[in-house]
Symmetry: C2
Subunit: 510 residues, 2 copies
């Protein structure tokens, strides 16, 4: 049964890998049918006789939502049929219908500002003992006096009321949905819809709705409420199907590929939430190896796998989130730490934990840097040179390469030219050769730039070897020193560093 269902999924995957909508439908069989794009389904859709049975009236959905607001919070019923109907009806709405509904939710059930203002005026009118506040670290004695006088109790009460009043009215709706079976899943759908709407137009009330929902989701999906589950070939087909569908880093090609990723020398762990059963919110794939792999091919296709008792390295080679509505909620951080903790405990002979990650921003940083240095050195006048020699500390010109690196690149380059393989692309050999005499350093930058932009370098062993030391050193500098708002400039590096990596790259030159 399991194999058959998965095999069908695999065939489907193979059949239409390029059509995104079709692919999404095939790969995520649990998703509701996509609403018709651009379909108009406004408030009066229910008066339209031409509606098909599937078509849902926005007015009805709004009514279901409104009904839910009339229930007091302490009467929350986990078997609420009204919420069940709302969920079904929402999923049946067109994109335009969902937009209108969410706008209604954001605007009609906003913060009660009149009440907030009233409570604030009241709060500010009570005399606040000046020492009770921010830096009241050593005021226990004073606190005692205030508590005896009852003034603190007044503040506590006012603050509790203010916290309540500052909650948007829709907060209660989110809470009820969260308590409802299947409600958490719907909340992630709502957030995914909000994110896709906000990508198109920035509506402040929708933005506030999205921000609030994100905050609540972070609370509800605290790592304490997530179950770490090791995914194996013994899991249900419906769960494995989701692994195939959502693996985003290194797509799973066929059943054999999937089985290998769950067998000897491999691990797969997912975070499950009781409210979204049988569907990991995020999962990670690990390979147990003798040493850090130098390519992903090695991980996915090495045969036979390393015997587990010989492994000294756990390579976390892929991590995929499954819920677009949980974007920006960093569950990966917790998953990685839990998994490392578990592996360390169960396999003490594993001492290296590494990732095999791309460094997407490196070339985008290096090439402009090389180009500007080449430009600067060309426009350089004798005066400038004089100026620099006096140590004025100008930041404009810097020595990107060490002298020995320059030497290595140059000699490698010349060797490559002589090897005859260089003829395939157009290099102005004579120019490089001629200019070598007067300032080799300057020209090495040009040579490096040309080689890197030609992408010729990684086809040639001679060039790869020659460039390797400088590329590695510059990459280390890029990853560790280049910052943006105090964080690593590179997004992938930043992800790993935030998750506790201390050294996060093993550069692949092949």
């Amino acid at each position: 049964m399991k194999n058959k269902r998965l095999a069908i999924l695999m065939r489907a995957r193979m059949a239409s890998p390029t059509h995104p909508v079709h692919r999404q439908q095939l790969l995520r069989p649990d998703l509701p049918p996509l609403p018709p794009q651009g379909a108009t389904c406004s408030g009066d859709a229910d008066d339209d006789g031409s509606n098909t049975a599937r078509r849902v009236s926005l007015k009805d959905v709004k009514e279901l939502m409104r009904a839910s607001f009339s229930i007091p919070t302490d009467k929350t019923d986990p078997m609420d049929t009204n919420l069940e109907e709302f969920s079904q009806a929402y999923l049946g709405l067109s994109q335009e219908g969902r937009r209108e509904l969410l706008l209604g939710l954001a605007r009609d059930y906003d913060v009660d500002r009149a009440r907030v203002c009233e409570l604030m005026r009241q709060y500010l009118s009570v005399e606040l003992p000046h020492s009770v506040g921010a830096d009241a670290v050593h005021v226990n004695q004073e606190y005692r006096v205030l508590e005896d006088g009852g003034i603190l109790a007044v503040f506590y009460r006012m603050e509790r009321n203010l916290r309540d009043a500052l909650k948007p009215t829709y907060a209660g709706f989110f809470e009820r949905l969260n308590a409802h079976p299947g409600g958490l899943k719907l909340l992630t759908v709502l957030r995914a819809d909000l994110l896709s709407l906000l990508a198109k137009e920035n509506v402040p009330s929708l933005r506030a709705l999205e921000t609030y929902l994100k905050e609540k989701l972070i609370t509800w999906l605290s790592p304490a409420s997530l179950e770490l589950h090791q995914i194996t070939w013994d899991d249900s087909a419906s769960l494995l199907e989701k692994i195939v569908a959502y693996e985003a880093v290194h797509p799973i090609r066929n059943l054999l590929d999937l089985k290998r990723r769950l067998s000897e020398g491999r691990r797969c762990f997912g975070y499950l939430h009781p409210a979204i059963p049988g569907e990991p919110l995020i999962f990670i794939e690990v390979a147990l190896l003798k040493d850090v792999a130098t390519s992903i091919q090695e991980v996915l296709w090495d045969s036979p796998p390393t015997p587990e008792f010989e492994a000294t390295c756990a390579l976390l080679y892929s991590i995929s989130a499954t819920q677009p509505g949980l974007s920006g909620i960093n569950l990966g951080k917790f998953l990685i730490k839990r998994v490392i903790h578990l592996l360390r405990r169960d396999m003490p002979h594993i001492s290296t934990f590494a990732t095999l990650s791309p460094i997407p921003g490196y070339m985008h940083w290096l090439l402009p840097k090389l180009a500007s240095q080449i430009k600067l050195s060309k426009s350089e006048t004798e005066d400038m040179k004089h100026f620099l020699e006096k140590g004025s500390g100008s930041n404009f010109i810097e020595d990107l390469l060490l002298p020995e690196e320059k030497e290595m690149i140059l000699s490698g380059y010349l060797k490559w030219l002589q090897s005859g393989t260089a003829s395939e692309i157009e290099f102005d050999k004579s120019e490089c050769m001629d200019t070598r005499e007067h300032d080799p350093g300057k020209d090495v930058l040009e040579i490096m730039y040309k080689l890197l932009t030609s992408r010729e370098w990684n086809k040639s062993d001679i060039l790869s070897e020659a460039l390797k030391p400088s590329l590695l050193r510059l990459c280390a500098r890029y990853l560790l020193k280049e910052k943006k708002r105090g964080k690593a400039f590179d997004v992938v590096a930043n992800f790993h560093l935030q998750n506790g990596s201390s050294w996060c790259f093993g550069l692949l030159l092949a």
Copy 2:
């Protein structure tokens, strides 16, 4: 293995059922040793050379807590060793030490009131369009103008900042603890300690701490994050041990008793949370019967049990919470509804869902009521009588019993007197007999009162039968009509009514 461990527990339970501390230690083997009562462990305890190894320095625990506050929230690490140490150290503190630590937490890490005031003044200084607030249900057009003008975005930002500022500083500590493995359990211990401290002295700052923690626990223990688990004889001994230890309504006497409650014709369901594995937060026991049982003995000892296909009634005969720190967080409500939903789905032949509950407040209500009516009728003058006959609507005298009920009690009483079994207690028979002539109704109340306070009535079939109709009718009145703040006066009745019961009593006269 399982049976041995459980058997030891059973013996322990039998050995010392009366000593509460001893019992608690024996029954809850996972609990840390209770801190020494009244032990002084103040700030300078670590300077005291006589400290034993087990004794923990309050100063050190405070330091661990302080260290945790220095970590920014987005750097929360689920494997935080500092929190691990704090948890261990807290459990090692004496009661007095815990009190001091909690007071420090409540006072030193309170709301930053200076910041709150500043943000409030800023909020109030911005002109608020009057229609955007409480009753802005149909102002979509106006919202659009405001959003285009950017004013709403300003409000959303200010409100978000205010929500943040109104959180006490200790909120972050609770959040970190919740994300930490074992942290949720510690939070329930903190709350249990707070509740027991507040029972002795009402300190407003501790009360505010407790209220805030309760709110957070309600969020974190939303029914969506709880897993409904059917507890069976196949569960681990460590889990079953907890069922034995925490069963609070009808104690489990021996292994046979436990096994019966998990076998044919019986169900036991618990709510498990991923962060507190192997220990249900609350569990409920159900008996599947041919009809509503008339006594708990029937449920616990009927042999053999009803074949399940013949059952038409599910009797929810016991529900027990296991965490004192979750007191007041109504998980029972959700558990009952989930269980009924499940049983209804799997066993459609079951149509009656009932509880077998005591009505603890009934006699406390009925006896004073009878006494005051007797007193009133004795002091009654001819004038009063005249007054009443004219229908002035006085509430002082009411007809507690119907004429046929009076007749029934009186004839039953006389029959009982004549049967000779009445001789065991001192009844002034002659008085009752003599006064019968002039006003039987008034004296019936006295007879009823004497019978009920003598507790003679439920030993005699004659008296039970005679009293049954009036006791049942008055009980219905008590449960349904007597209110306190709009809720049922009886606490047990109120529990059931809040959980969705529509008719909640089957009075037991035996």
